[in-house]
Symmetry: C2
Subunit: 613 residues, 2 copies
């Protein structure tokens, strides 16, 4: 089939077992690629209820049908696994040039199982697969070092997906790096690599991606780019990038500040878009992307892409840091050691809070720069106070008897939007399929950025979380599910109509916008079923967001609290709108309606509860 | 595609996860069905080096392309898994009507993973799949009882594949039963069912199998049946069945007698074909088979199909039992409790030997009937002396410091041919892909039954084990691999030319006999690679077969010993002929030549030993 290479590569690092099989095109027709195809393969290849740290828990690298073509923003790779942090699915996306290279090597999907007896690098050059010993030369290297070393030793054009020392040391929020500054950040995929003794995957492909009638495809894509990509609406990404969010979110009282103890940060001016524009030296782009959103900054002795908004929020405001140079240095430390910045900022902010409240002494205080910049390295090496911080927010707070101080959902630390300044985000976080995440649904767009809906009410938000608002580019869960199956980047506000125009080249048939949304809903339901199979926690929020006693005394969101009862009502409304039962289990009718092709039946239950699929 | 249903059903009993996926037709083209397709799916779906007792170790039920058509003998099912007995692949075949019913329900292949929390029956009715609670009503039933109960409760036409109490109690040689008298005997699949809390799989299908141009197919098959099935050569199966082997094997000094302490049994006349013909009351046939080899006997208050030759050898001669009625009763006990008769006879014969030599007292003596007939029940229930016997031959002998008294290869007890009376069987046993088994290669046909080769020499036997002798219907490893992918029964002496004529209907292209043999070799190499991946024991024999000190003092095979050095030379010759290295590892050149599509690469080895696929 055009667009797809039609091949899956499977490697077991423990036994050295290698095989390649045809891509399951029935699944590709049903679930597209990227997120959808990932979830279907996860359903099939994850041993149900497997211990996420066990060698049997596989890691999946999945491309989309457009990776390696000239469709803007669609070069993304999704890394998927049963997360050791949340115990449920985690799909983490990363740009750069890895996914196209993987396609050029001939694979749509790579499944990595097992644990190598000693550290290795998985080296894939077209159909040659090698496990390169990594113990002596590569293990211990930081992320920029490993990329450089592997390009020198293997192939100067190899694309590398690697871990830093944080992954080697199984830090729960260790991430994956590629093209140095691109991270598959959330859910601990770096720790999973580490648990498999896998330092990196290097790939080099000399093939190409076929697109059927190239003339027609190129003409169509050129038109779409002209009309829908390179528009004023999208160019914020190129001009300012995500730091553009700092001011409005801060203004709404939704900027996590000093471990979520305030919603506005008095030092925001030092780390907002205007500040970063002053140190901007260049733009960079992912493979095949016309937007070029990467902002290259130089400050504090560091030259790097980013930080993105989430880093500014969690590692800046949430740590009481308004010093741009310190933030640049901290961000670079996280990048080099291989740590997700959202969780890093959340845990360190928590540690600062605990220290200042006298609950424990981590030598960290809001706004104090030296200890702050040193912290990622200590965590990654599990050194000194870092060993304890490596527990992650939930376990750290629980250890000291202050669970309410950790801001997480399903053990994934929350990103940079305090729901008290944008109530819809509470439903988005609680119902996200990978725990506390803003990337499945983004109601704050309507509540704050575009301002068309009240930010301090849950009314209608369940529906909004599911459906989004395509008109202003705010994604909901259903649409994001298919968008991330494309895999288009969040930064192109593509709409269902444009997806129809692009998909028809892939599948040689017409799509309706309704079908696009139905596929999205199908994927979301499949994810829910997978999470139920693996044992997902209840959909709840951190207590602090419920209770009025924790409301901010001042600022734009002063006095606001979500309230447990309104939240639970909204959650039931969400389940109803989803066609799920009161416990959040998709009904047979809904699964049949949306075309999910797998089922869960009770196993070994009381005789009375036996059910058929 | 015609002949195949094109669907695979996967069930996880632990989580209730159910899904169906398209059959991988690329693998079907390459590995046909049955054994070949099983091994390819095992490579993919068995977590490498998994503990065979772990819930993650799946069980596979696989049909062949001709199941459900009118091709004689091709209704067989192969049950596959990583065996808890041998730790390597085990493919166990069973006739009856289960495989066609599975095809009619729409599946070529069923993969069962996980462990149910409480006992269940997996009930598949076309595309409805149900886990029926089995704890109260079904667990504990014998094999005839469970079939009757499930037909009454579920569907009178359901086909049942079940375990008896032996499987529930994880007896290592517990087998699977279907149509009451048909057993997937070897390798402990019954124990695997038990370990998954799976009492039975019941299936009912209302669909059909498509064969393309039915008129042409039927005409061709009718001709093949007339010319090649219903011949004098094949009709021994209908007239006498496998008991016909007793006299010639006994006459060659190759009949295991009193725990392999003699090669001829003085009481053979009581349990040979002539004796069984006297109590024969009917013939029965598997679905779609014109041969009708099943001999129904009535004696000793028992009416049953069988015993087959292997049962007569191991449970008769090897236990010093020449009493036909006792043997009928013992066989029925094994059938009802769900025990493989080869291993039962081997273990009980060993226990008799140990008792009579004063090594231990199991209350069992050669030829003593009452304790003998009671033993299968004691073993199945792990009751009294049965608890210790349930260790199996290797572990039982080892426990008492007499490992040489156990006759097994790779922990699978040897079947009914003593290699000292048919030297070629030593290579067949040692190189069998599932441990001590006669079903991959049968050189005794040339050595004894047809008598064209010396029985007391290893010369040329390595080649013979690999290639067989198609002219006299003696299968070798390569041909049996493709024959059991068909899946044709051993009892039809089909040849490669006839396979070509049948396969062309399935694959809509011509086959050459060379290609048939190449596919067989491909499958055999895939099996070897899988066994190496899982950690196969060295290819050796029980010491008793090597040493002249153990040779029989009298009888037709008196004084014969295989000799360790000649055996090892023959084994190296076997490896060379196979294109494997001295350690028995297939070379890259051989794998490429025969078209195996998977590889093993070293993982985490010393830097010097890193290799590419």
């Amino acid at each position: 089939m055009d667009f797809y290479q039609g091949r899956v590569l499977r490697i077991d690092l423990g036994s050295g077992s290698i095989s390649s099989e045809p891509l399951n095109m029935e699944w590709a027709e049903r679930y597209i690629g990227g997120k959808g195809l990932l979830l279907r393969y996860m359903w099939e290849y994850i041993p149900p209820r497997v211990d996420p740290w066990a060698p049997e828990n596989p890691v999946f690298l999945v491309t989309g049908p457009f990776a390696g073509t000239n469709v803007s923003t669609a070069s993304r790779l999704v890394v998927g696994a049963k997360s050791p942090v949340t115990g449920i699915l985690d799909d983490s996306y990363v740009g750069g040039s890895f996914a196209p290279e993987m396609k050029f090597a001939g694979y749509d999907l790579i499944i990595i199982m097992g644990k190598a007896r000693e550290p290795v690098v998985l080296w894939i050059k077209d159909d040659e697969v090698e496990l390169v010993p990594a113990k002596e030369k590569y293990w211990g290297l930081k992320t920029s070092e490993i990329e450089e070393a592997l390009r020198e030793d293997l192939d100067e054009n190899a694309k590398i997906l690697s871990i830093g020392p944080a992954g080697e040391n199984l830090i729960p929020w260790a991430c994956l790096s590629t093209d140095q500054f691109h991270k598959a950040g959330r859910g601990g995929h770096g720790a999973l690599f580490g648990s498999k003794n896998l330092k990196a995957v290097a790939v080099r492909g000399t093939g190409s991606v076929k697109v059927g009638d190239a003339r027609e495809f190129l003409a169509d894509i050129a038109r779409i780019h002209r009309e829908h990509v390179l528009t004023d609406f999208n160019l914020w990404a190129n001009e300012e990038g995500t730091p553009i969010l700092v001011d409005p979110v801060n203004g709404a009282g939704a900027l996590p500040t000093r471990n979520w103890s305030a919603g506005s940060f008095e030092g925001a001016d030092g780390i907002n878009s205007e500040a970063f524009q002053r140190v901007k030296v260049a733009n960079r782009a992912c493979y095949q992307c016309a937007l070029g959103c990467r902002q290259v900054h130089e400050a504090g002795g560091v030259k790097s892409e980013g930080p993105e908004y989430e880093t500014i929020a969690l590692c800046g405001a949430n740590c009481g840091i308004g010093d741009l140079e310190a933030l640049m240095r901290f961000n670079r430390e996280c990048d080099e050691w291989g740590l997700d910045t959202i969780s890093s900022g959340s845990v360190i902010g928590l540690a600062m809070d605990m220290t200042q409240k006298g609950i424990a002494d981590f030598g960290l205080r809001f706004g104090e720069i030296d200890a702050y910049v040193a912290a990622p390295g200590l965590i990654a090496r599990r050194e000194g106070r870092g060993a304890e911080l490596a527990l992650g927010a939930r376990a750290l707070a629980a250890k000291y008897g202050v669970p309410e101080m950790a801001m997480e959902v399903k053990n994934l630390e929350l990103p940079g939007y305090d729901p008290r300044g944008a109530f819809g985000m509470s439903i988005a976080y609680a119902t996200s399929d990978r725990g506390g995440c803003h990337m499945r649904s983004y109601p704050i767009a309507d509540e704050v950025l575009e301002g068309s809906r009240p930010a301090d009410s849950l009314e209608g938000k369940a529906k909004q979380v599911i459906e989004g608002n395509v008109a202003n580019g705010f994604i909901g869960q259903n649409f994001s599910s298919i968008k991330f199956s494309g895999i288009w980047c969040d930064f192109w506000a593509v709409d269902p109509g444009q997806l129809c125009q692009m998909f028809r080249h892939v599948f040689k048939r017409e799509f309706s916008e309704d079908e696009i949304m139905l596929i999205g809903e199908r994927i979301w339901n499949l994810g829910r079923l997978l999470n139920l199979r693996e044992g997902v926690e209840p959909d709840t929020l951190p207590r602090r967001l419920y209770d009025a006693g924790w409301a901010f005394p001042e600022g734009p969101s002063a006095g606001k609290a979500i309230g447990e009862r309104p939240f639970k009502e909204a959650l039931q409304e969400y389940y109803r709108l989803r066609g799920w039962d009161e416990a959040g289990v998709p009904t047979e009718a809904k699964l049949a309606e949306v075309g999910v092709d797998v089922r869960l039946v009770p196993s070994g239950m009381d005789p009375a509860t036996a059910a058929s699929s």
